[in-house]
């Protein structure tokens, strides 16, 4: 095997799971074919491919927005050309784990907005629920179609040093990034056209079809062609590209709040031929902005009266209103208990150990070991408002501690996890970088479906542990392989 330069000197980080190299520096079998293929390419060829990928992203406007960066707000999402590979056995495990978790989370949301059995049985303490700003009393006793609250989840998984998958966050409100999963695959098809079938990579492109099928099935009106819309906050939102992409791929109208109006507890879309009743809304607007009559009165992104239409069951809203209570990072720590409570099963996927800082003992422990901790706000996402203990200065830590002491309920801490690494093509060389995995699970009346794949985010800065796109992360195409056929040959598709 002839090896190009780029392949030499790959320095896997010690005590970290590397997706490509086993500890004895042998290439793990799923990567063999890719590595063999890449080894035959020259550095120039690979550079060309990298350049092509960037040009394609730029030309197609596959961008996202970084806030508070001072410079031009729209950026392309950095893409690494080397795919991340997940074996079919690994995928089966992840898939089972996510299905189990999502089933429990949906049961939890139904319970918490109705009978609250889990609180009465002291599994989840009542004050954690009632102090959560996303526990919406407006949703109390409101029925939702098929008792599904989470229709789309973007559960973030990481792998620890043993290669075990752990759940970092559940993202049950408006998970984003699925358009990059789709676009990354399209780009990879152009970069390595022959590699995908020869490796037996499973397709992800049925995602929009599955999503559309689920959305349609939620229609309160029993009609053959219900009106489904995608409600976007607008062009300044970081995920606007995704909103347009999904609307286009599903063939539904992309609307903003001002395009909708509520009359007599029904939602209508303004069209050139008059009002058209809307049955299902896939919204990418936060709960508190959704209805200025019920939530934030100053919101100009929402639709006044939509909560009334939802309560009456005249419109389905995806994801349901009020999911934030299950997304709260303090409540996240109880998800394994929820699985045991509702399903009478042991959790397949483990949580990252989490210290709730409202507990004085936990707080003391965390403060004493802050260098080994990541402290997060319970109600933020996207990597905002975090403290990475190992990288922060004394003053930063002191300031953060003061903030914690003001409202300890709003913080949790987790030990810094050595995220797994995967090879990335950076400056003509393969280099290990930290990654995570976000599969997109769709929950509909006929069950939970997860397209085999997801978004692998990568911390492109050397040594960085933060993969969030808002914090300078990039992404990779994520390959889930078909199970090897009995002969050991890969099935062709």
């Amino acid at each position: 095997m002839q090896e190009s330069d780029f392949f030499n000197g790959y320095k896997a980080i010690s005590n970290v799971w590397d997706e490509m190299y086993a500890s004895n520096l042998a290439v793990r079998s799923p990567y063999e074919r890719v590595i063999d293929y890449l080894a035959l390419e020259s550095v120039e060829d690979l550079n060309k491919k990298e350049e092509l990928a960037q040009r394609l992203f730029m030309k197609q406007g596959i961008t996202f927005t970084v806030y508070n960066s001072g410079e031009g707000i729209e950026k392309i999402f950095p893409f690494d050309i080397i795919p991340r590979i997940i074996t079919s056995a690994e995928w089966d495990f992840v898939e089972k784990g996510i299905k189990q978790r999502l089933t429990a989370l949906n049961l939890f949301l139904k319970d918490i907005y109705h009978n609250q059995f889990i609180v009465k049985d002291n599994i989840v303490p009542i004050d954690v629920i009632y102090s959560c700003p996303h526990f919406l009393r407006e949703m109390y006793q409101v029925g939702v179609p098929y008792d599904i609250y989470v229709h789309i989840a973007g559960i973030d998984l990481i792998r620890d040093e043993n290669g075990d998958f752990l759940v970092l966050e559940d993202n049950l409100r408006t998970p984003s990034g699925v358009s990059y999963m789709l676009e990354n695959r399209e780009i990879t098809k152009r970069l390595f056209p022959d590699l995908l079938p020869s490796c037996g990579v499973r397709g992800v492109n049925e995602y929009p079809t599955l999503l559309y099928k689920n959305l349609q099935s939620l229609s309160p009106r029993q009609i053959s062609n219900p009106t489904v819309v995608l409600l976007s906050p607008g062009i300044y939102n970081s995920a606007y590209f995704e909103h347009t992409t999904l609307a286009r791929l599903m063939g539904v109208e992309l609307v903003e709040g001002r395009d909708l109006v509520v009359n007599n507890q029904k939602v209508y879309m303004k069209t050139t031929i008059g009002l058209q009743q809307v049955d299902v809304i896939y919204r990418r607007v936060d709960d508190e902005f959704l209805d200025p009559l019920v939530f934030k009165p100053e919101s100009i992104l929402g639709v006044a009266g939509i909560m009334g239409a939802y309560r009456k069951g005249n419109v389905a809203i995806v994801n349901a209103i009020g999911n934030g209570v299950a997304d709260d990072k303090a409540i996240y720590s109880y998800v394994p208990d929820m699985i045991r409570y509702y399903l009478n099963e042991e959790p397949i996927l483990k949580n990252v150990p989490t210290y709730r800082l409202s507990n004085p003992d936990a707080r003391e422990f965390v403060f004493a070991n802050i260098n080994k901790m990541v402290v997060k706000k319970t109600n933020e996402s996207g990597g905002y408002g975090m403290l990475m203990g190992h990288a922060a200065s004394e003053q930063e830590i002191e300031r953060y501690k003061q903030e914690i002491l003001k409202a300890p309920r709003n913080f949790i801490a987790q030990p810094t996890i050595a995220l797994s690494t995967a090879p990335c093509y950076i400056q003509g060389k393969l280099q290990p970088r930290r990654i995570d995995l976000r599969p997109y699970a769709l929950c509909g009346p006929s069950g939970i479906e997860i397209v085999p794949g997801g978004l692998t985010r990568v911390a492109l800065k050397e040594g960085s542990l933060v993969v969030n796109s808002s914090q300078g992360g990039g992404s990779k195409d994520t390959w889930v392989l078909t199970p090897p056929s009995p002969k050991g040959e890969v099935t062709k598709i």
């Binding site: 009542i126 996402s381 996207g382």
Partner: protein
């Protein structure tokens, strides 16, 4: 067993035609053994369909929309209510037992919501006062009455210095306000010593010698007294809210009970005019008097004013849109 005829008119007038208004009303008197509704007529401009539901706190809430262009919206609620005197707490249980009973409620629904304190600047000062006022060996009932009197004596009743959005910080600094502010102050003090307290909106029906809060919707507080239940306390008049107080809604604070609120589209400002008149059985309601006139409020589509002088309102509008769109968490 007094019977009251209450006429409550809410009138919004707009400077021009507005449309697509969505509104929420909490104007349905609570029905229980101390209060029965004999008749309730509701008439609204344009006769929209009013959909009602029961909210988290057990209040009946109505909502309706008015999509056609309109330049005024009048919500006229005419109620005949019959109230019954509720005997006062006997209060013959040892104080410690009563306080212990309250402690047990801290982590139970619904009391947890009526015990939660939100941090505000004057909290430490208030805590000091609350501690001083709470004399050992007094029962929760006695403490509640004392706090009610404290608010009545130490806060000045002045109309117009506060609005529905005034926060407890400001009330504390001003030491003045109207019934709503008094009620907020009292609920905060009661919660500080562990007595569950809720906000009540309703009407006060005076016994003809005049009481504060007539002519408009009224607000007071309720304290949870062991072995008794919710006791109405009116800090604006320093009295127990009993058969002269007609309850419309209960909640944590004003915004849970807001009698009328709405959102509309259009470039025009609005004026709000509320009148409440109360008559006894067989009497005609007293003539309508406008006792509460809201200042002109900018329509919801107008920009929030900022302190930056250089930007015109169009630029500020764009900025606001941008900020709100960016705030949407895409996880």
């Amino acid at each position: 067993m007094p019977e009251f005829k209450i006429q409550h008119i809410t009138r919004y007038t707009y400077d021009g035609p507005v449309r697509d208004s969505a509104n929420q009303i909490i104007l349905f008197p609570i029905v229980d053994i101390y209060q029965e509704v004999l008749k309730h007529d509701l008439s609204i401009t344009g006769n929209p369909l009013v959909d009602t539901h029961i909210d988290y706190y057990g209040n009946e809430v109505g909502s309706f929309t008015l999509s056609e262009p309109h330049d005024q919206l009048v919500i006229s609620s005419n109620v005949i209510v019959n109230t019954h005197h509720r005997p006062l707490p006997v209060d013959d249980i040892f104080p410690e037992h009563q306080w212990d009973a309250l402690k047990d409620l801290k982590y139970t629904v619904p009391y947890i919501d009526f015990l939660r304190l939100d941090y505000f600047e004057g909290q430490d000062d208030l805590q000091g006062i609350v501690e001083a006022e709470k004399i050992n060996h007094e029962t929760p009932y006695q403490v509640a009455l004392r706090f009610c009197e404290y608010v009545y004596r130490n806060f000045e009743y002045i109309k117009g210095v506060t609005t529905v959005e005034t926060r407890i910080d400001e009330i504390w600094k001003l030491k003045a306000g109207v019934c709503q502010d008094f009620a907020h102050m009292l609920t905060e003090m009661l919660r500080m010593v562990g007595i569950p307290a809720r906000y009540v909106s309703g009407y006060i029906c005076p016994n003809r010698n005049g009481m504060r809060g007539e002519g408009a919707t009224h607000a007071w507080a309720e304290a949870f007294i062991p072995n008794f239940g919710w006791l109405g306390l009116d800090p604006t008049n320093n009295c127990i809210a009993n058969e002269t107080h007609v309850r419309l809604a209960v909640g944590r604070n004003f915004s849970d009970c807001s009698p009328v609120k709405g959102v509309y589209k259009g470039p025009y400002g609005h004026h709000l005019n509320v009148s409440v008149s109360v008559g006894y059985k067989d009497d005609e309601p007293e003539p309508e008097v406008n006792l509460f006139v809201d200042k002109v409020v900018k329509p919801s589509t107008s920009p929030v004013t900022t302190s930056e002088p250089a930007k015109n309102s169009y630029q500020r509008y764009l900025e606001m849109i941008q900020q709100q769109q960016q705030q949407q968490q895409q996880q």
